[in-house]
Every structure is written in C-alpha cells, then in structure tokens.
C-alpha cells in the first residue's frame, strides 16, 4: 500500500526525525492560508502516490502566499503518472547545505532489510546506482537485531559529513525504527538534508506498506492511498478475487498467479489479446462461480479460455463452480477448457455430463482456439 508524502512524514516525525512545518491544502485559497501561517518562502507539492513529481511540474517554490495560491491553482487537477492531483502539501523552505539519501527496504537477495545511504541525495536513486555506484552504501540488517547505532555510524563514516555526522547517524537509526514499526516494504527519505543551520531534516518521504501487514497495522494503514481500481476490479476485490482489467477480447480464468499469467502469455503468443487477469488459486479456488459471473459481465469479451492445473486448488471443485455459473447465466460466447492436476478425472467427467464439453488436450490448444474464436 502506497502512502502519499503528507501521510508518510508524520510517521517519521513520530519517531523523532525532523520534517518541515507545513499543511495540506485542497484549494488554492487553502494553500495561500497555509503559506501565510508558515510565513516566508514555501514549497507547494502535488500529493500523489508516485515519484518524479518535480519533473512533472508538480513541485513549485513560492515566495509569497499569493504565489503559493497561483502554484496550487496550476498543480491541483493536473495528472501525474496516471493520478489526478487533489491536494497539495505546502511546506516551509529549509535552506539546504547538503542533500543526502537514506532508505530501508526489503531485499530479496539478502532475504532481510537493507539500509541504503548516499551523499548524492535529491537524485533518482536508480540513476545514482547507475552513474555513481561508489557513493551508494548498503548494509544488510538482521531483522531480529535491528540496526544498532554503531552500524548506522559505520554506514555514514568517511563521507565528510562533519559535525552533522552524529545527527545523520541518529536519523538512520530512527528511520530503521519506523521501517520496523510500520511493516514497511520501502521507507525512503530523498532528500534527507543537512540544513544550513545544521539540523538534519527529511524533505520528502516515500513509504510503501507490506500489503500482507495492513490488517495488523489498522491504525496506520487508514492513512494509506487505496489502490486505483476499475469498477470490475473493485467488485472483484470486495469478493476476495484477484482480477485486473486489460484491453483485449479473450477472457482468461485460471488458478494460480503463475498459470494465469502464462495463459495470458500464450493467448498473446498466438496473436490474441487477453481481456483480463483473473485467478482463483490458493484459498479462493472455491470461488469459481462468482469469478466467472464477474468475468462474463465484462463488456467486449468474444471468447473465453478456462485453464486449470490443480495442485492445492482442486480442479473438480473449480469446475463445479464454473458449471454452476454457466448453467445460471447461459453465456453465448465460446468457452475452451484445459483441465489437469488434482481432481482432474472428476472435473472432466463433470464437464462431459453437465455441459457436454470435453476439455482440449493442452492449454496451448485451448488458448489457440479461444484466440481464433475471438477473431471470427
């Protein structure tokens, strides 16, 4: 789950990391009001759960409340990376002596948290990794022990941070504490600045919470940004189904993420365009009926491939659900089956007895037939 900057920064502040004074505004007048309250120069920042806001024109400096109002007018309503800007964060400008980068993230390679630190702050970190890899320091952490102060110190040593070194070390330790406390997948401060007055301040913050931890982080997760969903996707989510709308006309229903993606791949390989991703693997294998009913309500589908390979998900159970949906809705579009794995003998018998249908020998056959039928 993504968090916008204004929702992420209070989590840092709660752990003792300094953030600029500021406030959220929904209208240009509100933005001017916040700027007046702060007094002095401010920055007006678009609030969307996406990076590169500055490059998109979503971050602007203002010397006066009037200027803040006019910037807010141009930023609110603009679109950044597919997100419409509804709010701006208006913050005091903090005079910068040095820009740094700090982050903690889940690292699949070391199978644990990874702390990253760089003196090349303010830049896109992928760019830093590509152009100045030596300036990027990494430290894998044993999550059972956390990040001891001494280890954080080693990470920032020898980078000519001067008197700020202790405060930067401190900020890293607190950043790690926030990462651990809020089940972060990624918690990033870019830039973390050393201000001209010597303070260490988080000018920005990116926070992604682990979706599997949302339930146990119910207080914090309320401030997160709900995933942007289409109508069908929202309906599917409410029903506990993993569904994604795509542009094509060949409907796809399969069990398991890997098999469902592969079904889409094979449809495309044969020149077809998948209409969706819809999987009923794992615990949701009993949900075949609502899944198919949902898919059949999608406009523009010309044919359907149903591809089951049962491991945990029993193909007989899934097939029974599919048959119930077909008997209830009597769809006219052509449907092609491929059924293998746990429970397949029973599933194949059910299809024959109730629908008079025999599955095709392979998924390749089923996908190809569906692509051809959609083109007719």
């Amino acid at each position: 789950m993504d968090f916008e900057e204004h929702a992420a920064k209070p989590l840092l502040a709660g752990k003792g990391i300094a953030v600029p004074r500021g406030g959220l505004a929904r209208t240009p007048d509100e933005a001017a009001g916040v700027a007046a309250r702060i007094g002095g120069a401010v920055v007006v920042k678009a609030q969307v759960p996406a990076g590169k806001r500055g490059k998109a024109g979503g971050i602007k400096l203002a010397a006066t409340p009037d200027e803040a109002r006019s910037h807010a007018r141009s930023i609110i309503g603009m679109e950044i990376a597919g997100h419409k800007v509804g709010r701006v964060l208006v913050e005091e400008q903090v005079p910068i002596a040095r820009e740094l980068y700090a982050a903690v993230l889940n690292d699949p390679s070391s199978k644990g948290p990874l702390v990253m630190f760089s003196t090349a702050g303010g830049m896109d970190i992928e760019e830093v990794a590509a152009t100045a890899p030596a300036s990027l320091r990494r430290r894998p952490v044993d999550i059972r022990r956390g990040l001891p102060h001494a280890d954080a110190g080693t990470l920032v040593q020898g980078l000519a941070l001067g008197v700020a070194e202790a405060a930067v070390t401190d900020a890293l330790v607190k950043l790690y504490e926030a990462y651990a406390a809020f089940d972060a997948e990624l918690l990033e401060i870019n830039p973390l600045i050393v201000a001209r007055d010597g303070r260490v301040v988080a000018l920005d913050c990116k926070f992604v919470m682990d979706d599997s931890a949302i339930a146990r982080q119910s207080d914090v997760s309320r401030a997160g940004t709900p995933e942007k969903l289409t109508g069908l996707e929202a309906r599917a989510k409410a029903a506990g189904l993993k569904y994604i709308d795509l542009e094509g006309n060949v409907g796809v229903l399969a069990n398991g993420a890997g098999l469902t993606m592969t079904t889409m791949d094979v449809v495309r390989h044969h020149g077809g365009r998948p209409a969706n991703f819809l999987e009923i693997g794992g615990e949701s294998y009993t949900q075949a009926r609502p899944a198919l009913e949902l898919l059949l309500s999608k406009p523009g589908i010309r044919s359907l491939v149903i591809n089951f390979c049962g491991a945990f998900a029993r193909t007989d159970v899934m097939t029974r659900g599919v048959i119930e949906a077909i008997e209830a809705l009597k769809p006219e579009l052509p449907i092609f089956f491929s059924v293998h794995g746990t429970g397949d003998e029973e599933a194949i018998k059910l299809l024959k007895d109730r629908l008079g249908v025999t599955p095709l020998p392979t998924m390749e056959n089923a996908c190809k037939a569906a692509v051809e039928a959609a083109a007719r």
């Binding site: 889940n106 690292d107 699949p108 390679s109 199978k111 644990g112 948290p113 992928e126 044993d142 999550i143 059972r144 651990a180 089940d183 997948e185 682990d210 979706d211 599997s212 931890a213 339930a215 146990r216 993993k242 994604i244 795509l246 399969a254 069990n255 398991g256 993420a257 890997g258 098999l259 469902t260 993606m261 592969t262 889409m264 791949d265 094979v266 449809v267 495309r268 390989h269 998948p274 991703f277 999987e279 693997g281 794992g282 615990e283 089951f308 390979c309 049962g310 491991a311 945990f312 998900a313 293998h340 794995g341 746990t342 397949d344 392979t362 998924m363 390749e364």
Partner: protein, 290 residues
C-alpha cells in the same frame, strides 16, 4: 531443500481441513509423516499419527526432520520459530500473505541454524517415487514420474503444468522444488538450481520463473557455470507494468523485474528460454540429444 523418502515429516496444523486432506495424500504416497501439531490437541491421534502441542514436543516425542506448515498467516512466525528452535532440518511454508517482516525474521533464524526454508507461498516439494511435502499432485502419474529432470517453480499451478509437459514428452522428474511466489522467500531460484545441479540422477533442469524481482538474473549467473543444460520459462511477458499479478512478487517497476531483462540474462548464460510451456519437451530433446 530436496525432501527425501527417509526424511521424517511433521505436519504443523495437521487437524485442519487442508492439513488432514494433504496429510492423507502424503501418507498414501509414501511420505514418512511421524506426527502433527495443534496447540490444544496434544496427546490425541490424527491421521494415525500422534499430535503434539509444539514442534519442540514433537522433536522429543517422535523426532522429525522436515516440518510442513498448514498455519494461518499471522501465526506462521511463531510456528516457524518453534520448528527452527526444535532443530528442524527444513521447513516447507505453504501459507500466502504472511507479513514480510515475519518472513525475514524466521528466514534469518533458519539460516543461523542451518535449516532450509521452502516458501512462503509454495506448493511444496516432490521427489517422485519417494515422497512429497506440501500440496502437489505427486500421486498423479501423468504429472509426476521418476526421471532425470529437475524442476524449479515459483508457482504451484504452473509447476504442475510444466511437470505434465515434461512427462508427456517422455521424461520424468528427479525432483520438483517449489520455491514460492512471495517477494522474499527462504530458498532462491539460484539456491534451488545449485541443489539440483548436484542432486544425483538429475541430467537437466527446468526453471519456471516469473516477472518481478531479480532472482532469475541471479540464477543466470550460476547457470553459466553449469555443465547440465537449463531450460527456462518466464511467466508474465504479457503483463502490464506496475500491477501485482496475483503473486505479491510478480510486479514490474521500470526495467527491474521485467520479462526482457530476465530473458536476456538467461539467454546470455546459455539457458534455453521458451516462448510457451508446450515447447519444453522439444527443448529438452534438443539439449539432451535424446
């Protein structure tokens, strides 16, 4: 992380519906199930084996090598730590949606104790003719047959499809290793590849990956050094950017984790990369010469 017929298996959460269903099938196939756990049912018997309150008790009472966990997401950390501290040689963690900080915790503990972890979000492991641990249809002879092909898969259902195609092409499997679909897992593709490279009776490896992360790229570094041929498939070439495709790990952000990045890394390492699963038989014949 290859489970053998001689390994003694403890089923944690044995009394639940799925625990029972799959324990019966594991036993019928030949897996040496020596016991199960349930916190409130110690002293009883289930599926003809003793039930213990904890893995520690099971280690004292029956002794075991590998724990298979049928445990709900928020309780897995405690159960996994129990099994690790009891001295398990390995854990098969089937559960999906375990918070990642919990996963990293018990993975770190397992590493320290020298125990392997398969998963989370794996369908388990199969050694045809010997045993299976988890919920794979090992008993289906059109899918699993003793042979010489090692199979690694992040996805259970897709693993089934590849094993089906391997058997249809006239081969069989030396071992199937399901590593799991989560973004952080206990055994990486590369580690599974190393294990199959040295596993007796394995002549070639089929590696079934998917978009997201960089595990396939890391595995390519090892594949380059192997004498045995490797054939790979990467699911998700047709998936849109920035969306989680069912598996939490299957997401492309920028170029990282993309289909193109994985395919080119594998091909540069001499791995045959398939366009579709049904090509696996022909690719194995071409690489093995029979």
């Amino acid at each position: 992380m290859i489970v053998r017929g001689t390994d003694r298996v403890l089923v944690m959460g044995i009394t639940g519906k799925q625990g029972t269903f799959w324990t019966e099938r594991m036993q019928a196939y030949g897996t040496r199930v020596v016991g199960g756990t349930h916190p409130n049912k110690a002293g009883t018997k289930h599926c003809n084996v003793p039930v213990f309150a904890t893995a520690r008790d099971a280690m004292k009472g029956a002794g075991f090598d590998v724990a298979v966990l049928f445990i709900p997401p928020l309780m897995v950390k405690e159960a996994a730590m129990d099994a690790i501290e009891a001295g398990a040689k390995g854990l098969v963690v089937l559960t999906e949606h375990i918070p990642l900080h919990d996963v990293m915790y018990f993975v770190a503990a397992a590493k320290e104790r020298g125990a392997f972890i398969l998963g989370p979000n794996t369908a388990g492991a199969v050694t045809p003719g010997e045993c299976f641990a988890g919920f794979m249809p090992a008993f289906n002879t059109r899918i699993f047959r003793k042979g010489s092909i090692g199979v690694i898969s992040r996805s259970g259902s897709l693993g089934v499809l590849f094993c089906l195609n391997v058997v249809q092409a006239g081969y069989g499997e030396s071992a199937f290793v399901g590593i799991g679909g989560d973004p952080v897992i206990g055994t990486t593709t590369r580690e599974a590849l190393e294990a199959l490279d040295t596993f007796p009776g394995t002549e070639a490896v089929v590696m079934v990956g998917e978009i997201g992360g960089s595990m396939e790229e890391e595995a390519a570094d090892y594949a380059r050094t192997m004498a045995k041929p490797v054939v790979a498939f990467i699911a998700g070439g047709a998936a849109p950017q920035g969306r989680k495709m069912g598996h939490a790990g299957a997401i492309v952000m920028g170029n990282k984790g993309s289909y193109a990045s994985k395919r080119s890394a594998l091909e540069a390492a001499g791995v045959t990369v398939l366009d579709t699963p049904s090509e696996v038989g022909a690719a194995l014949k071409a690489r093995l010469g029979r």
